[in-house]
């Protein structure tokens, strides 16, 4: 079944309450991330949530899809930043879960339940989020990963296993690096934030491990938009160490138009296919080492299609809500099956 109508929440937007001293923000769900960035930025605060795509996206959509980006490895997933929400279930009841304070265990956790439910259990209308102070210093560096697989591997391990505590760390294959103007080799992109002293100390520690070059922090915005024109985006989730072990091989893939990005601390590999005209259906990810990794049927990896041509969706995307508990929750919250039917392969 497919949805017959789209309910746009774009206009249900704006700040409901914001007391900077509390570091919490309540907004209507249609508020764009860019607006949250602007409002909180005025008080030197931010919502450290940088999902792939554009900042024009709304906070409601970000939570409904549980979308996260490079900052998630240090600030947590959307579910970790969400304090409470209001939604309308499939019977039209207005329901609230959680609250507006930073710590709360009152009642069963409807906020987590709705996060990542893709609008199938309710229409999220308002959310309360945890904010952080903007770091006094925020610097980004790029490390070229040249040499043999072994050399790359040991360099990556040295950076990832060091006591550094970067805000974000991504490994990119050559096409992705080229698309971001970072040269033609695989690279490690690393972002340090905090007070001046802690950033200075980390930059100095990094220089002991690898040669790096500072780049504009706008590179992160471009990275988030890499899959803007993508045909297909696949996310592979696995144990961090498996990615570390395989990173050199995965980063060796150099097929134009196929970008691979690894977040080795979070255990995430993203494969972006067809963002470039030169990539065709024949360059399907199945041909690549990275996708072999994705498909190796080991118990610990999971393949998630973030973006697929709509015609491919039903045949490729497995149902993730077929278990009895998920089905029961869906029936309870949306008895008439009117909320985004079919989107989760249900």
């Amino acid at each position: 079944m497919r949805a017959g109508k789209t309910l746009s929440l774009r206009d249900d937007s704006g700040v409901v309450s914001y007391v900077p001293g509390d570091l919490t923000l309540t907004v209507r769900a249609g508020t764009p991330l860019s607006e949250i960035e602007r409002v909180t930025g005025e008080h030197d605060q931010w919502l450290p949530l940088d999902p792939y795509g554009s900042s024009d996206g709304t906070i409601g959509a970000t939570l409904a899809t549980a979308s996260a980006g490079p900052l998630a490895s240090s600030f947590g997933l959307p579910r970790d930043l969400l304090l409470g929400l209001e939604f309308v279930n499939g019977r039209g009841d207005v329901v609230r879960g959680g609250g507006k304070v930073v710590k709360n265990v009152a009642g069963f956790d409807l906020s987590r339940l709705l996060t990542g439910s893709w609008g199938t259990l309710g229409v999220i209308t308002e959310v309360t989020l945890r904010l952080y102070a903007l770091p006094a210093t925020d610097r980004t560096f790029v490390i070229a990963l040249s040499g043999s697989e072994k050399e790359i591997s040991s360099l990556v391990r040295a950076v990832v296993s060091s006591p550094l505590t970067p805000f974000a760390l991504q490994l990119l294959n050559p096409p992705a690096a080229r698309a971001l103007g970072l040269g033609g080799e695989p690279v490690c992109l690393i972002r340090f934030g905090g007070n001046d002293a802690v950033v200075r100390a980390q930059v100095s520690a990094l220089s002991q491990v690898a040669r790096s070059q500072e780049v504009e922090s706008a590179v992160w915005t471009r990275l988030r938009q890499l899959d803007g024109k993508a045909h297909t985006t696949i996310r592979v989730v696995s144990m961090p160490q498996r990615f570390l072990a395989a990173s050199a091989r995965i980063l060796g893939d150099d097929v134009p138009g196929i970008y691979t990005c690894i977040d080795p601390r979070r255990g995430i590999l993203r494969i972006i296919v067809g963002a470039d005209d030169r990539a065709t259906e024949e360059d399907s990810p199945g041909m690549l080492g990275s996708a072999d990794f994705a498909r190796d049927g080991s118990e610990s990896s999971e393949v998630i299609f973030e973006k697929l041509p709509s015609e491919a969706w039903p045949s490729v995307s497995p149902s993730v809500v077929r278990d009895a508990l998920s089905q029961g929750i869906k029936r309870a919250y949306d008895p008439h099956n009117i909320l985004n039917p079919g989107i989760l392969g249900d």
Binding site: K103, R112, L134, V198
Partner: protein, 513 residues
């Protein structure tokens, strides 16, 4: 078959009950089933002494398989039960009112430890501190650190979504649990979440954490471990007024620095701790102290430490002392972590509150609490997670004195009302249990409570797991219509038991039945 046990003559025992006890003994062995009222006394309260409920039976499975068999037997008999860990909870949540207690403390294996990927899988009865001691040798820690860490279990922590002082920076149990194998009340076993860390679909893991035993019980839990910080520094700032300390707290939070912990203790608490065996060397004449911990990379911590020290001194701190070494740090922390225990010196009973308020409202609410305590003539000891705005106003009293009990309850109700009016929550980490159930309708609408009931019904359609807790029965629309025929066979159903009123206190000595 254990009918052969020389079963004691029991006033209340019925043939059906001894048959169930016998079947349970077949599964776990006779010595792991308790049915004598005198033996069951130990299980009639949790860490909050105001509530007593006498269980009918207690059963202690020793393995995962035994646990499954026990729950399946109870499911077949239609009997309600309460899962219980170490019984350190502070909401009356693990009490069983004339029904079966399933104690999970014997399930205490650390099943696996993956140092490289920083994950551990443990059985529910593993004690929080034991896991931490076990992983410390690898430079790792399990971040949630409830004050009861030396006794409380990971299974209980999951049920309550437990917090602790260091949750300010590191987050609560929810943020550190990746996956669980859950035994539903029907006896079915399901996997929730992903050991890898992230998966698509509904976050059933998130729904289960903090479900207070109402959704079933966890057979194993996979947690995320955190590398030990390079540097840890602990400060003690002392103030001559509560108000100054409260303002300093708000100022630290507003500065954007995220301390690992930011704890507040007021004068009465300081003095009761200093009088006890947990004396930490706090200044007795202070009206408030802040215990502040900063951690992370050395350079960053030193810079933040100077900033925090400056904020405290600017805010009127009389003195700011930095612990010189680990021994001194541990001593400062011990006083804080054992404060509830120390209050046992004051009176036989203690009411512990757990409200959360927006952090900018702290000075105002603490002043309100002072006014309320004067009005009702009670002594409030404030010891709490100030950085999170998570208050623990405690009142030591004797439940045997009806007049005093009445004043204490009125004061606590007034305090809770003030916190709710400030936009807060009724519980930050202790859970609703029995204790806060009467306040649920003050913060959630009927449709929100009903949505919670519906969620519970998916996990536990017969409402047999920890019945009568968290959401008041009358808030659940469909529960009136479908009373659940099988529940009628239970020893006592939640529908039959009177709902406790908020902050109900009961006689300190359970009746001899």
């Amino acid at each position: 078959m254990t009918q052969a046990t020389p079963a004691p003559i029991q006033a209340r025992s019925s043939p059906a009950q001894s048959a169930v006890a016998g079947h349970l003994a077949d599964i776990v062995g006779e010595r792991h089933v308790l049915s004598r009222p005198s033996e069951l006394l130990v299980y009639n309260s949790d860490g909050l002494p105001g509530y007593r409920r006498q269980p009918r039976l207690a059963v202690f499975p020793g393995t995962r398989e035994e646990t499954i068999s026990v729950v399946r037997l109870l499911a077949a008999e239609g009997l309600p039960f309460v899962p219980r860990g170490a019984g350190t909870g502070l909401s009356g949540g693990a009490l069983a009112d004339d029904i079966v207690v399933i104690g999970l403390h014997r399930l205490k294996k650390i099943i696996s430890l993956d140092v490289e990927n920083r994950r551990a899988t443990v059985e529910p009865g593993v004690v929080n501190l034991r896991l931490n001691k076990h992983v410390a040798q690898y430079g790792l820690l399990y971040a949630p650190d409830p004050s009861s860490e030396a006794a409380c279990t990971i299974g209980g922590n999951v049920a309550e979504n437990a917090g602790g002082p260091h949750c300010l920076k590191y987050g609560v149990t929810l943020n550190h649990v990746l996956a669980m194998t859950v035994l539903l009340p029907s006896g079915e076993v399901v996997e929730l979440g992903s050991r890898v860390g992230e998966r698509d679909g509904y976050d059933l893991r998130g729904a289960f954490i903090g479900s207070e035993g109402c959704f079933g019980l966890a057979l194993d839990i996979t947690v995320k471990l955190t590398p030990k910080p390079q540097a840890v520094r602990t400060l003690l700032a002392d103030f001559t007024s509560v108000d100054k300390a409260a303002h300093a707290t708000s100022a630290i939070i507003a500065s954007g620095i995220v301390p690992a912990a930011l704890e507040f203790m007021d004068g009465p608490t300081i003095r009761v701790v200093e009088d006890s065996i947990y004396a930490a060397g706090y200044p007795r004449d202070a009206e408030a102290i802040l215990l502040i911990e900063l951690d992370g990379l050395d350079a960053g911590v030193s810079a933040d430490l100077e900033e925090v020290r400056r904020i405290c001194l600017d805010g009127g701190a009389r003195n700011v002392k930095v612990a010189r070494d680990d021994a001194e740090r541990m001593k400062l922390w011990q006083g804080r972590k054992k404060a509830f225990g120390a209050m046992g010196r004051l009176a036989p009973h203690l009411i512990v509150q757990d409200a959360v308020i927006p952090r900018t409202r702290l000075p105002e609410i603490l002043e309100t609490i002072r006014t309320i305590s004067e009005k009702y003539g009670v002594v409030v000891c404030n010891v709490f997670h100030a950085g999170d705005g998570n208050l623990h106003p405690n009142i030591a009293y004797s439940a045997d004195d009806p007049a005093e009990s009445e004043r204490v309850h009125k004061a606590m109700t007034a305090i809770m009302r003030a916190c709710i009016d400030a936009g807060g929550s009724i519980t930050g980490e202790h859970g609703v249990g029995l204790d806060k159930m009467g306040y649920m309708e003050a913060i959630f609408s009927g449709s929100s409570l009903n949505a919670m009931c519906e969620l519970r019904s998916v996990f536990d359609p017969e409402r047999r797991s920890n019945p009568g807790k968290v959401v008041p029965v009358h808030a659940c629309k469909e529960w009136h219509a479908v009373p659940g025929a099988r529940l009628r066979t239970a020893a006592t159903s939640e529908a039959d038991s009177p709902e406790p009123r908020p902050l109900e206190a009961e006689p300190s000595h359970p009746s001899a039945t």
